[in-house]
């Protein structure tokens, strides 16, 4: 069984038992999300639950055949699925994803996935060393932050493992195995222990499964941490082809850190460099990456803080800190990096904090929030932007005290609790979909981001097309002509989207084309691509898909290429003969299975809608830039980069868009529920049986 270990570990925390499930039945899903959804389907006895803190919830942490290999920007990614916490109006079956080396180590220990069900009577952590599985008391680490927890577990395992000549010796079924590595630990911090909706899972210094509230799920199960330690290998079908494809990926598509090209376009070809929304805190650093990455995106520094803090972790407090230090970039950087690190230690998802804190600041200035105000808070709001305020604020969130008390169940839920539902409807609280914050790419401008998110379960956070926003708008910001003309870019990108898209018009986000079949097909491609290639085979979202890449003579990226395309790596690892499109078909099946779960949870197409302000108000204030240029055609059919702000979505047209979308996905357009015919065609008749039993099967068209 190339690429897979052949075993899945199922832990029942209620009974304190473990058992092994053969992977064979779940291979069809590829791994990661698909495998997790299928395991959830089989093992969650009540799929109607809508709060992940319900003890009936089942959470699955899954690897893929790529995990533990050298497949570029894939070897260390890991997927988490289960019913989430803090979504609105209900918490759907959802997903999250994180990097590092956890999934690789799980594979080396001999496991393709771990499934957690039930609830432990007391706090526990799971100690898995190759075939050895132990459920251990967590009383000594409960209450600790994620760093202290991991270091404590490292020390425990090291003390219990014989070290010979600098190598740790672990038992295996075939004798002893050896490793120089540390165990890979995934843990919750105080936020997870307190079952805060925005609690996440953290691995090493800066890998977080943030969105979806899985930290709260673990906390509800009294699960503090999972540690894997392994000395095994991943069997590869065609090792020579895999090695050659990895060489080719570097030679033809990747960025060269020793010869960085500032004008380069495309995700795969970016040179290794920390991605920060502040100045680097020190030049004495390395660019650090997840296992198997082609070009890392984080740093480790010589200054005693900020390791692996990047991207959103540096964004949420950035504007506040910049204002507080009055433009001193180095002082701001220190505040931002320390605040990001504190989030990781406390186990808090940083995504809601930026939008959320702007909203709370507004309530404070309106006289609605503060000491002795309608929304009581004794935090020092006059010091917002300072390191002291960040500490107070994050501790309150993590412990559920002060302002954190009302935020435990979610930010939109707090708005309704405080009688501030108007803020959600008008966009003062910019949480446009499923109780989650706007990501910087407003649904009224970046269409696929919003459409996908609302047709799934959470902020999509899938950047395949979003790189266009960054590349084009940064060029325009600096007064430069975009490196790739709009027509050329549309042609290159859409040429990769077969069999869904057959026209460059799919990338035309102009207002007349917003609800077109072409844009819909691009959206469907992206959902199916993400469901399989990103979330199941676990290619990193930040590097894949590589649709355009100006390192190549024709500016075509690695995606779908015969040198270093997704399918090239899949086939080399597994021995299959899959095409890129074959993977999309599995992605379609995964979405169908997910939609069946959402249907059992109570979803009807009527709840699939954005917050009111997305329809009622034009998009006028960009989170990141004051404009939002995107490739568009004009009335003459000529391509330009055009600012797509100052527009809103049309309810009726979007409702019609949904009907057509559901029809194409094999669902009843009246309800959004899957039909038996479509499920049966995907070899999912057993799903149709369950839906029918619950009287939630879609009508045939």
């Amino acid at each position: 069984m190339f690429g897979f270990t052949g075993k899945i570990l199922h832990i029942n925390l209620t009974t304190g038992t473990s058992k092994t499930i053969p992977t064979e039945k779940y291979k069809r899903w590829g791994g990661g999300h698909g495998m997790g959804s299928a395991l959830f389907w089989d093992l969650c006895e009540d799929k109607t639950i809508t709060d992940g803190r319900d003890s009936k919830n089942v959470v699955c942490i899954a690897t893929s055949p790529f995990s533990g290999t050298n497949v570029p920007s894939a070897g260390g990614r890991c997927e988490v699925v289960g019913v989430g916490v803090g979504l609105y109006p209900v918490s759907w079956f959802t997903r999250s994803n994180f990097g590092g080396r956890f999934s690789a180590t799980m594979k080396y220990a001999g496991w393709d996935a771990i499934v957690i069900s039930g609830k432990a009577a007391q706090p526990v952590w799971l100690d898995i060393r190759n075939d050895s599985v132990n459920i251990r008391s967590a009383k000594d680490i409960w209450g600790k932050d994620t760093k202290t927890t991991q270091e404590s577990i490292w020390q425990t395992v090291e003390e219990e493992t014989e070290t010979i000549d600098g190598w740790q010796q672990l038992p295996t079924p075939k004798g002893s195995g050896y490793s120089t590595q540390k165990p890979a630990v995934l843990a919750i911090g105080p936020a997870g222990e307190n079952q805060v909706a925005t609690a996440c899972l953290v691995h090493d210094a800066g890998n977080g499964a943030g969105q979806g509230g899985f930290g709260a799920v673990w906390g509800s199960k009294n699960l503090k941490a999972i540690s894997f330690y392994g000395t095994g290998s991943v069997e590869i079908a065609d090792p020579a082809a895999l090695v050659q494809a990895r060489f080719d990926a570097k030679e033809f598509y990747a960025g060269d850190v020793d010869n960085p090209d500032a004008s380069h376009w495309g995700p795969f070809g970016k040179p290794a460099k920390p991605v920060l929304f502040c100045d680097e805190p020190s030049k004495k650093r390395r660019t650090q990456s997840c296992q198997g990455c082609i070009n890392g995106c984080r740093g480790r520094y010589d200054i005693g803080y900020g390791n692996e803090v990047s991207c959103q972790e540096t964004s949420w407090y950035s504007s506040f800190a910049q204002k507080w230090v009055k433009g001193d970039k180095q002082k701001a950087s220190a505040i931002i990096m320390r605040s990001g690190e504190l989030c990781n230690r406390l186990g808090i998802n940083t995504y809601p904090l930026g939008e959320g804190l702007h909203w709370l600041e507004h309530l404070y200035h309106e006289g609605l929030l503060g000491p002795d105000k309608a929304i009581s808070s004794s935090l020092d709001w006059e010091k917002i932007g300072s390191p002291e305020f960040a500490e107070q604020f994050l501790q309150a969130i993590a412990t559920g005290n002060d302002i954190g008390k009302d935020l435990i169940d979610g930010w939109v839920q707090a708005a309704y609790k405080w009688g501030r539902e108007e803020d959600h409807k008008t966009g003062k609280l910019q949480f446009p979909y499923w109780g989650m914050p706007e990501h910087g790419y407003d649904p009224r401008a970046e269409l696929e981001w919003g459409f996908e998110t609302i047709m799934c379960d959470r902020d999509m956070n899938s950047h395949c097309f979003n790189w266009i926003f960054w590349q084009a708008n940064i060029s325009i910001l600096f007064g430069q002509r975009p490196f790739l003309a709009a027509d050329k870019l549309a042609e290159i990108v859409t040429s990769k989207l077969a069999p869904y898209v057959d026209s460059p018009a799919a990338l035309d986000y102009s207002t007349p084309n917003m609800y077109s079949d072409d844009v819909m097909q691009l959206t469907r491609w992206h959902i199916h691509y993400s469901r399989f290639w990103k979330n199941s085979t676990l290619l990193c979202d930040f590097r894949w898909a590589d649709l355009f890449n100006t390192h190549t003579p024709d500016s075509h990226g690695a995606t779908g290429s015969e040198k270093a395309g997704e399918h090239v790596f899949w086939n080399a690892v597994t021995g299959d003969t899959m095409s890129l499109a074959d993977g999309l078909e599995i992605g379609k099946q995964i979405w169908a299975l997910d939609n069946a779960i959402w249907t059992l949870q109570g979803r009807h197409r009527d709840v699939v809608k954005f917050a009111d302000y997305i329809y009622d108000q034009p998009f006028t204030k960009g989170e990141l830039l004051p404009f939002f240029f995107w490739p568009c055609r004009d009335e003459k059919g000529e391509w330009h980069y055009q600012d797509v702000m100052r527009r809103s979505l049309d309810r009726d047209k979007f409702e019609d868009w949904k009907s057509r979308f559901y029809t194409l996905e094999g669902c009843d357009p009246e309800t959004g529920w899957p039909t038996r015919t479509s499920l049966a065609a995907m070899d999912l008749a057993f799903v149709a049986d369950e839906l029918e039993k619950n009287q939630r099967i879609g009508k045939e068209g």
Binding site: R101, Q181, A205, D258, P274, R286, Q288, S289, R300
Partner: protein, 229 residues
Amino acid sequence: MSGKAGSTINRRTFLKALGAAGIAASAGGAILLPGNLLVMPHSEGFLVVDMGKCMGCGTCMTTCSLTHHGKASLSLSRIQIEQNSFANWPDDITMSICRQCKDAPCVSACPVNANHVDSENGMVRRIDPDRCIGCMQCIAACPYLPKRLQWDPVQRKVQKCDLCVDTPYLKEKGGPGNTQACVKVCPVGAIAFIDKMPDQKSPHGYEVNLRGKGWEKTGGSREDLHSKS
């Protein structure tokens, strides 16, 4: 002994002369002098690393195990990258490579000449798996921690870096003067192959600065890690 700094006769010439005189028995590329003194020619290739530049992606490790064994593994890798996510740069990562030692104690310790100097492949110190009896004496002889030779628990043999001489899953020719998979695959150029023996006395002889001017453009420091040592 020839080969030391300041010698007027190079080591290879010396060994050739010994061989011509017929006064030594050959053990691979090494020469066994009377009194069980094993003299070995220098390897014609070495790996050097920049511990300040490495990303910690471990791709060198999995590619090493893939090219040699056809499996993705850290435990079977002949280069070992260890890291502590919470430690300060540059001490958060150590890169442990086989040094292809001048007088390789692992070669000397092998009782069956499985671990030998390969005269057909640039004098690289390598283990013939068909001759290895799994006694592990070579591991014990390695003076470095972690030991730069690995025990393969499945094959029950010892392995070590051969500069990619024996790589059945590498499509191009490996070995000194040819491809080293770890060098070729490293995304940031933190591993290099050189043909001049690094300083054997310095604790940092194999630790070099591979950060060029381009590195500065991405915001990093080019400062030598051991400039004060």
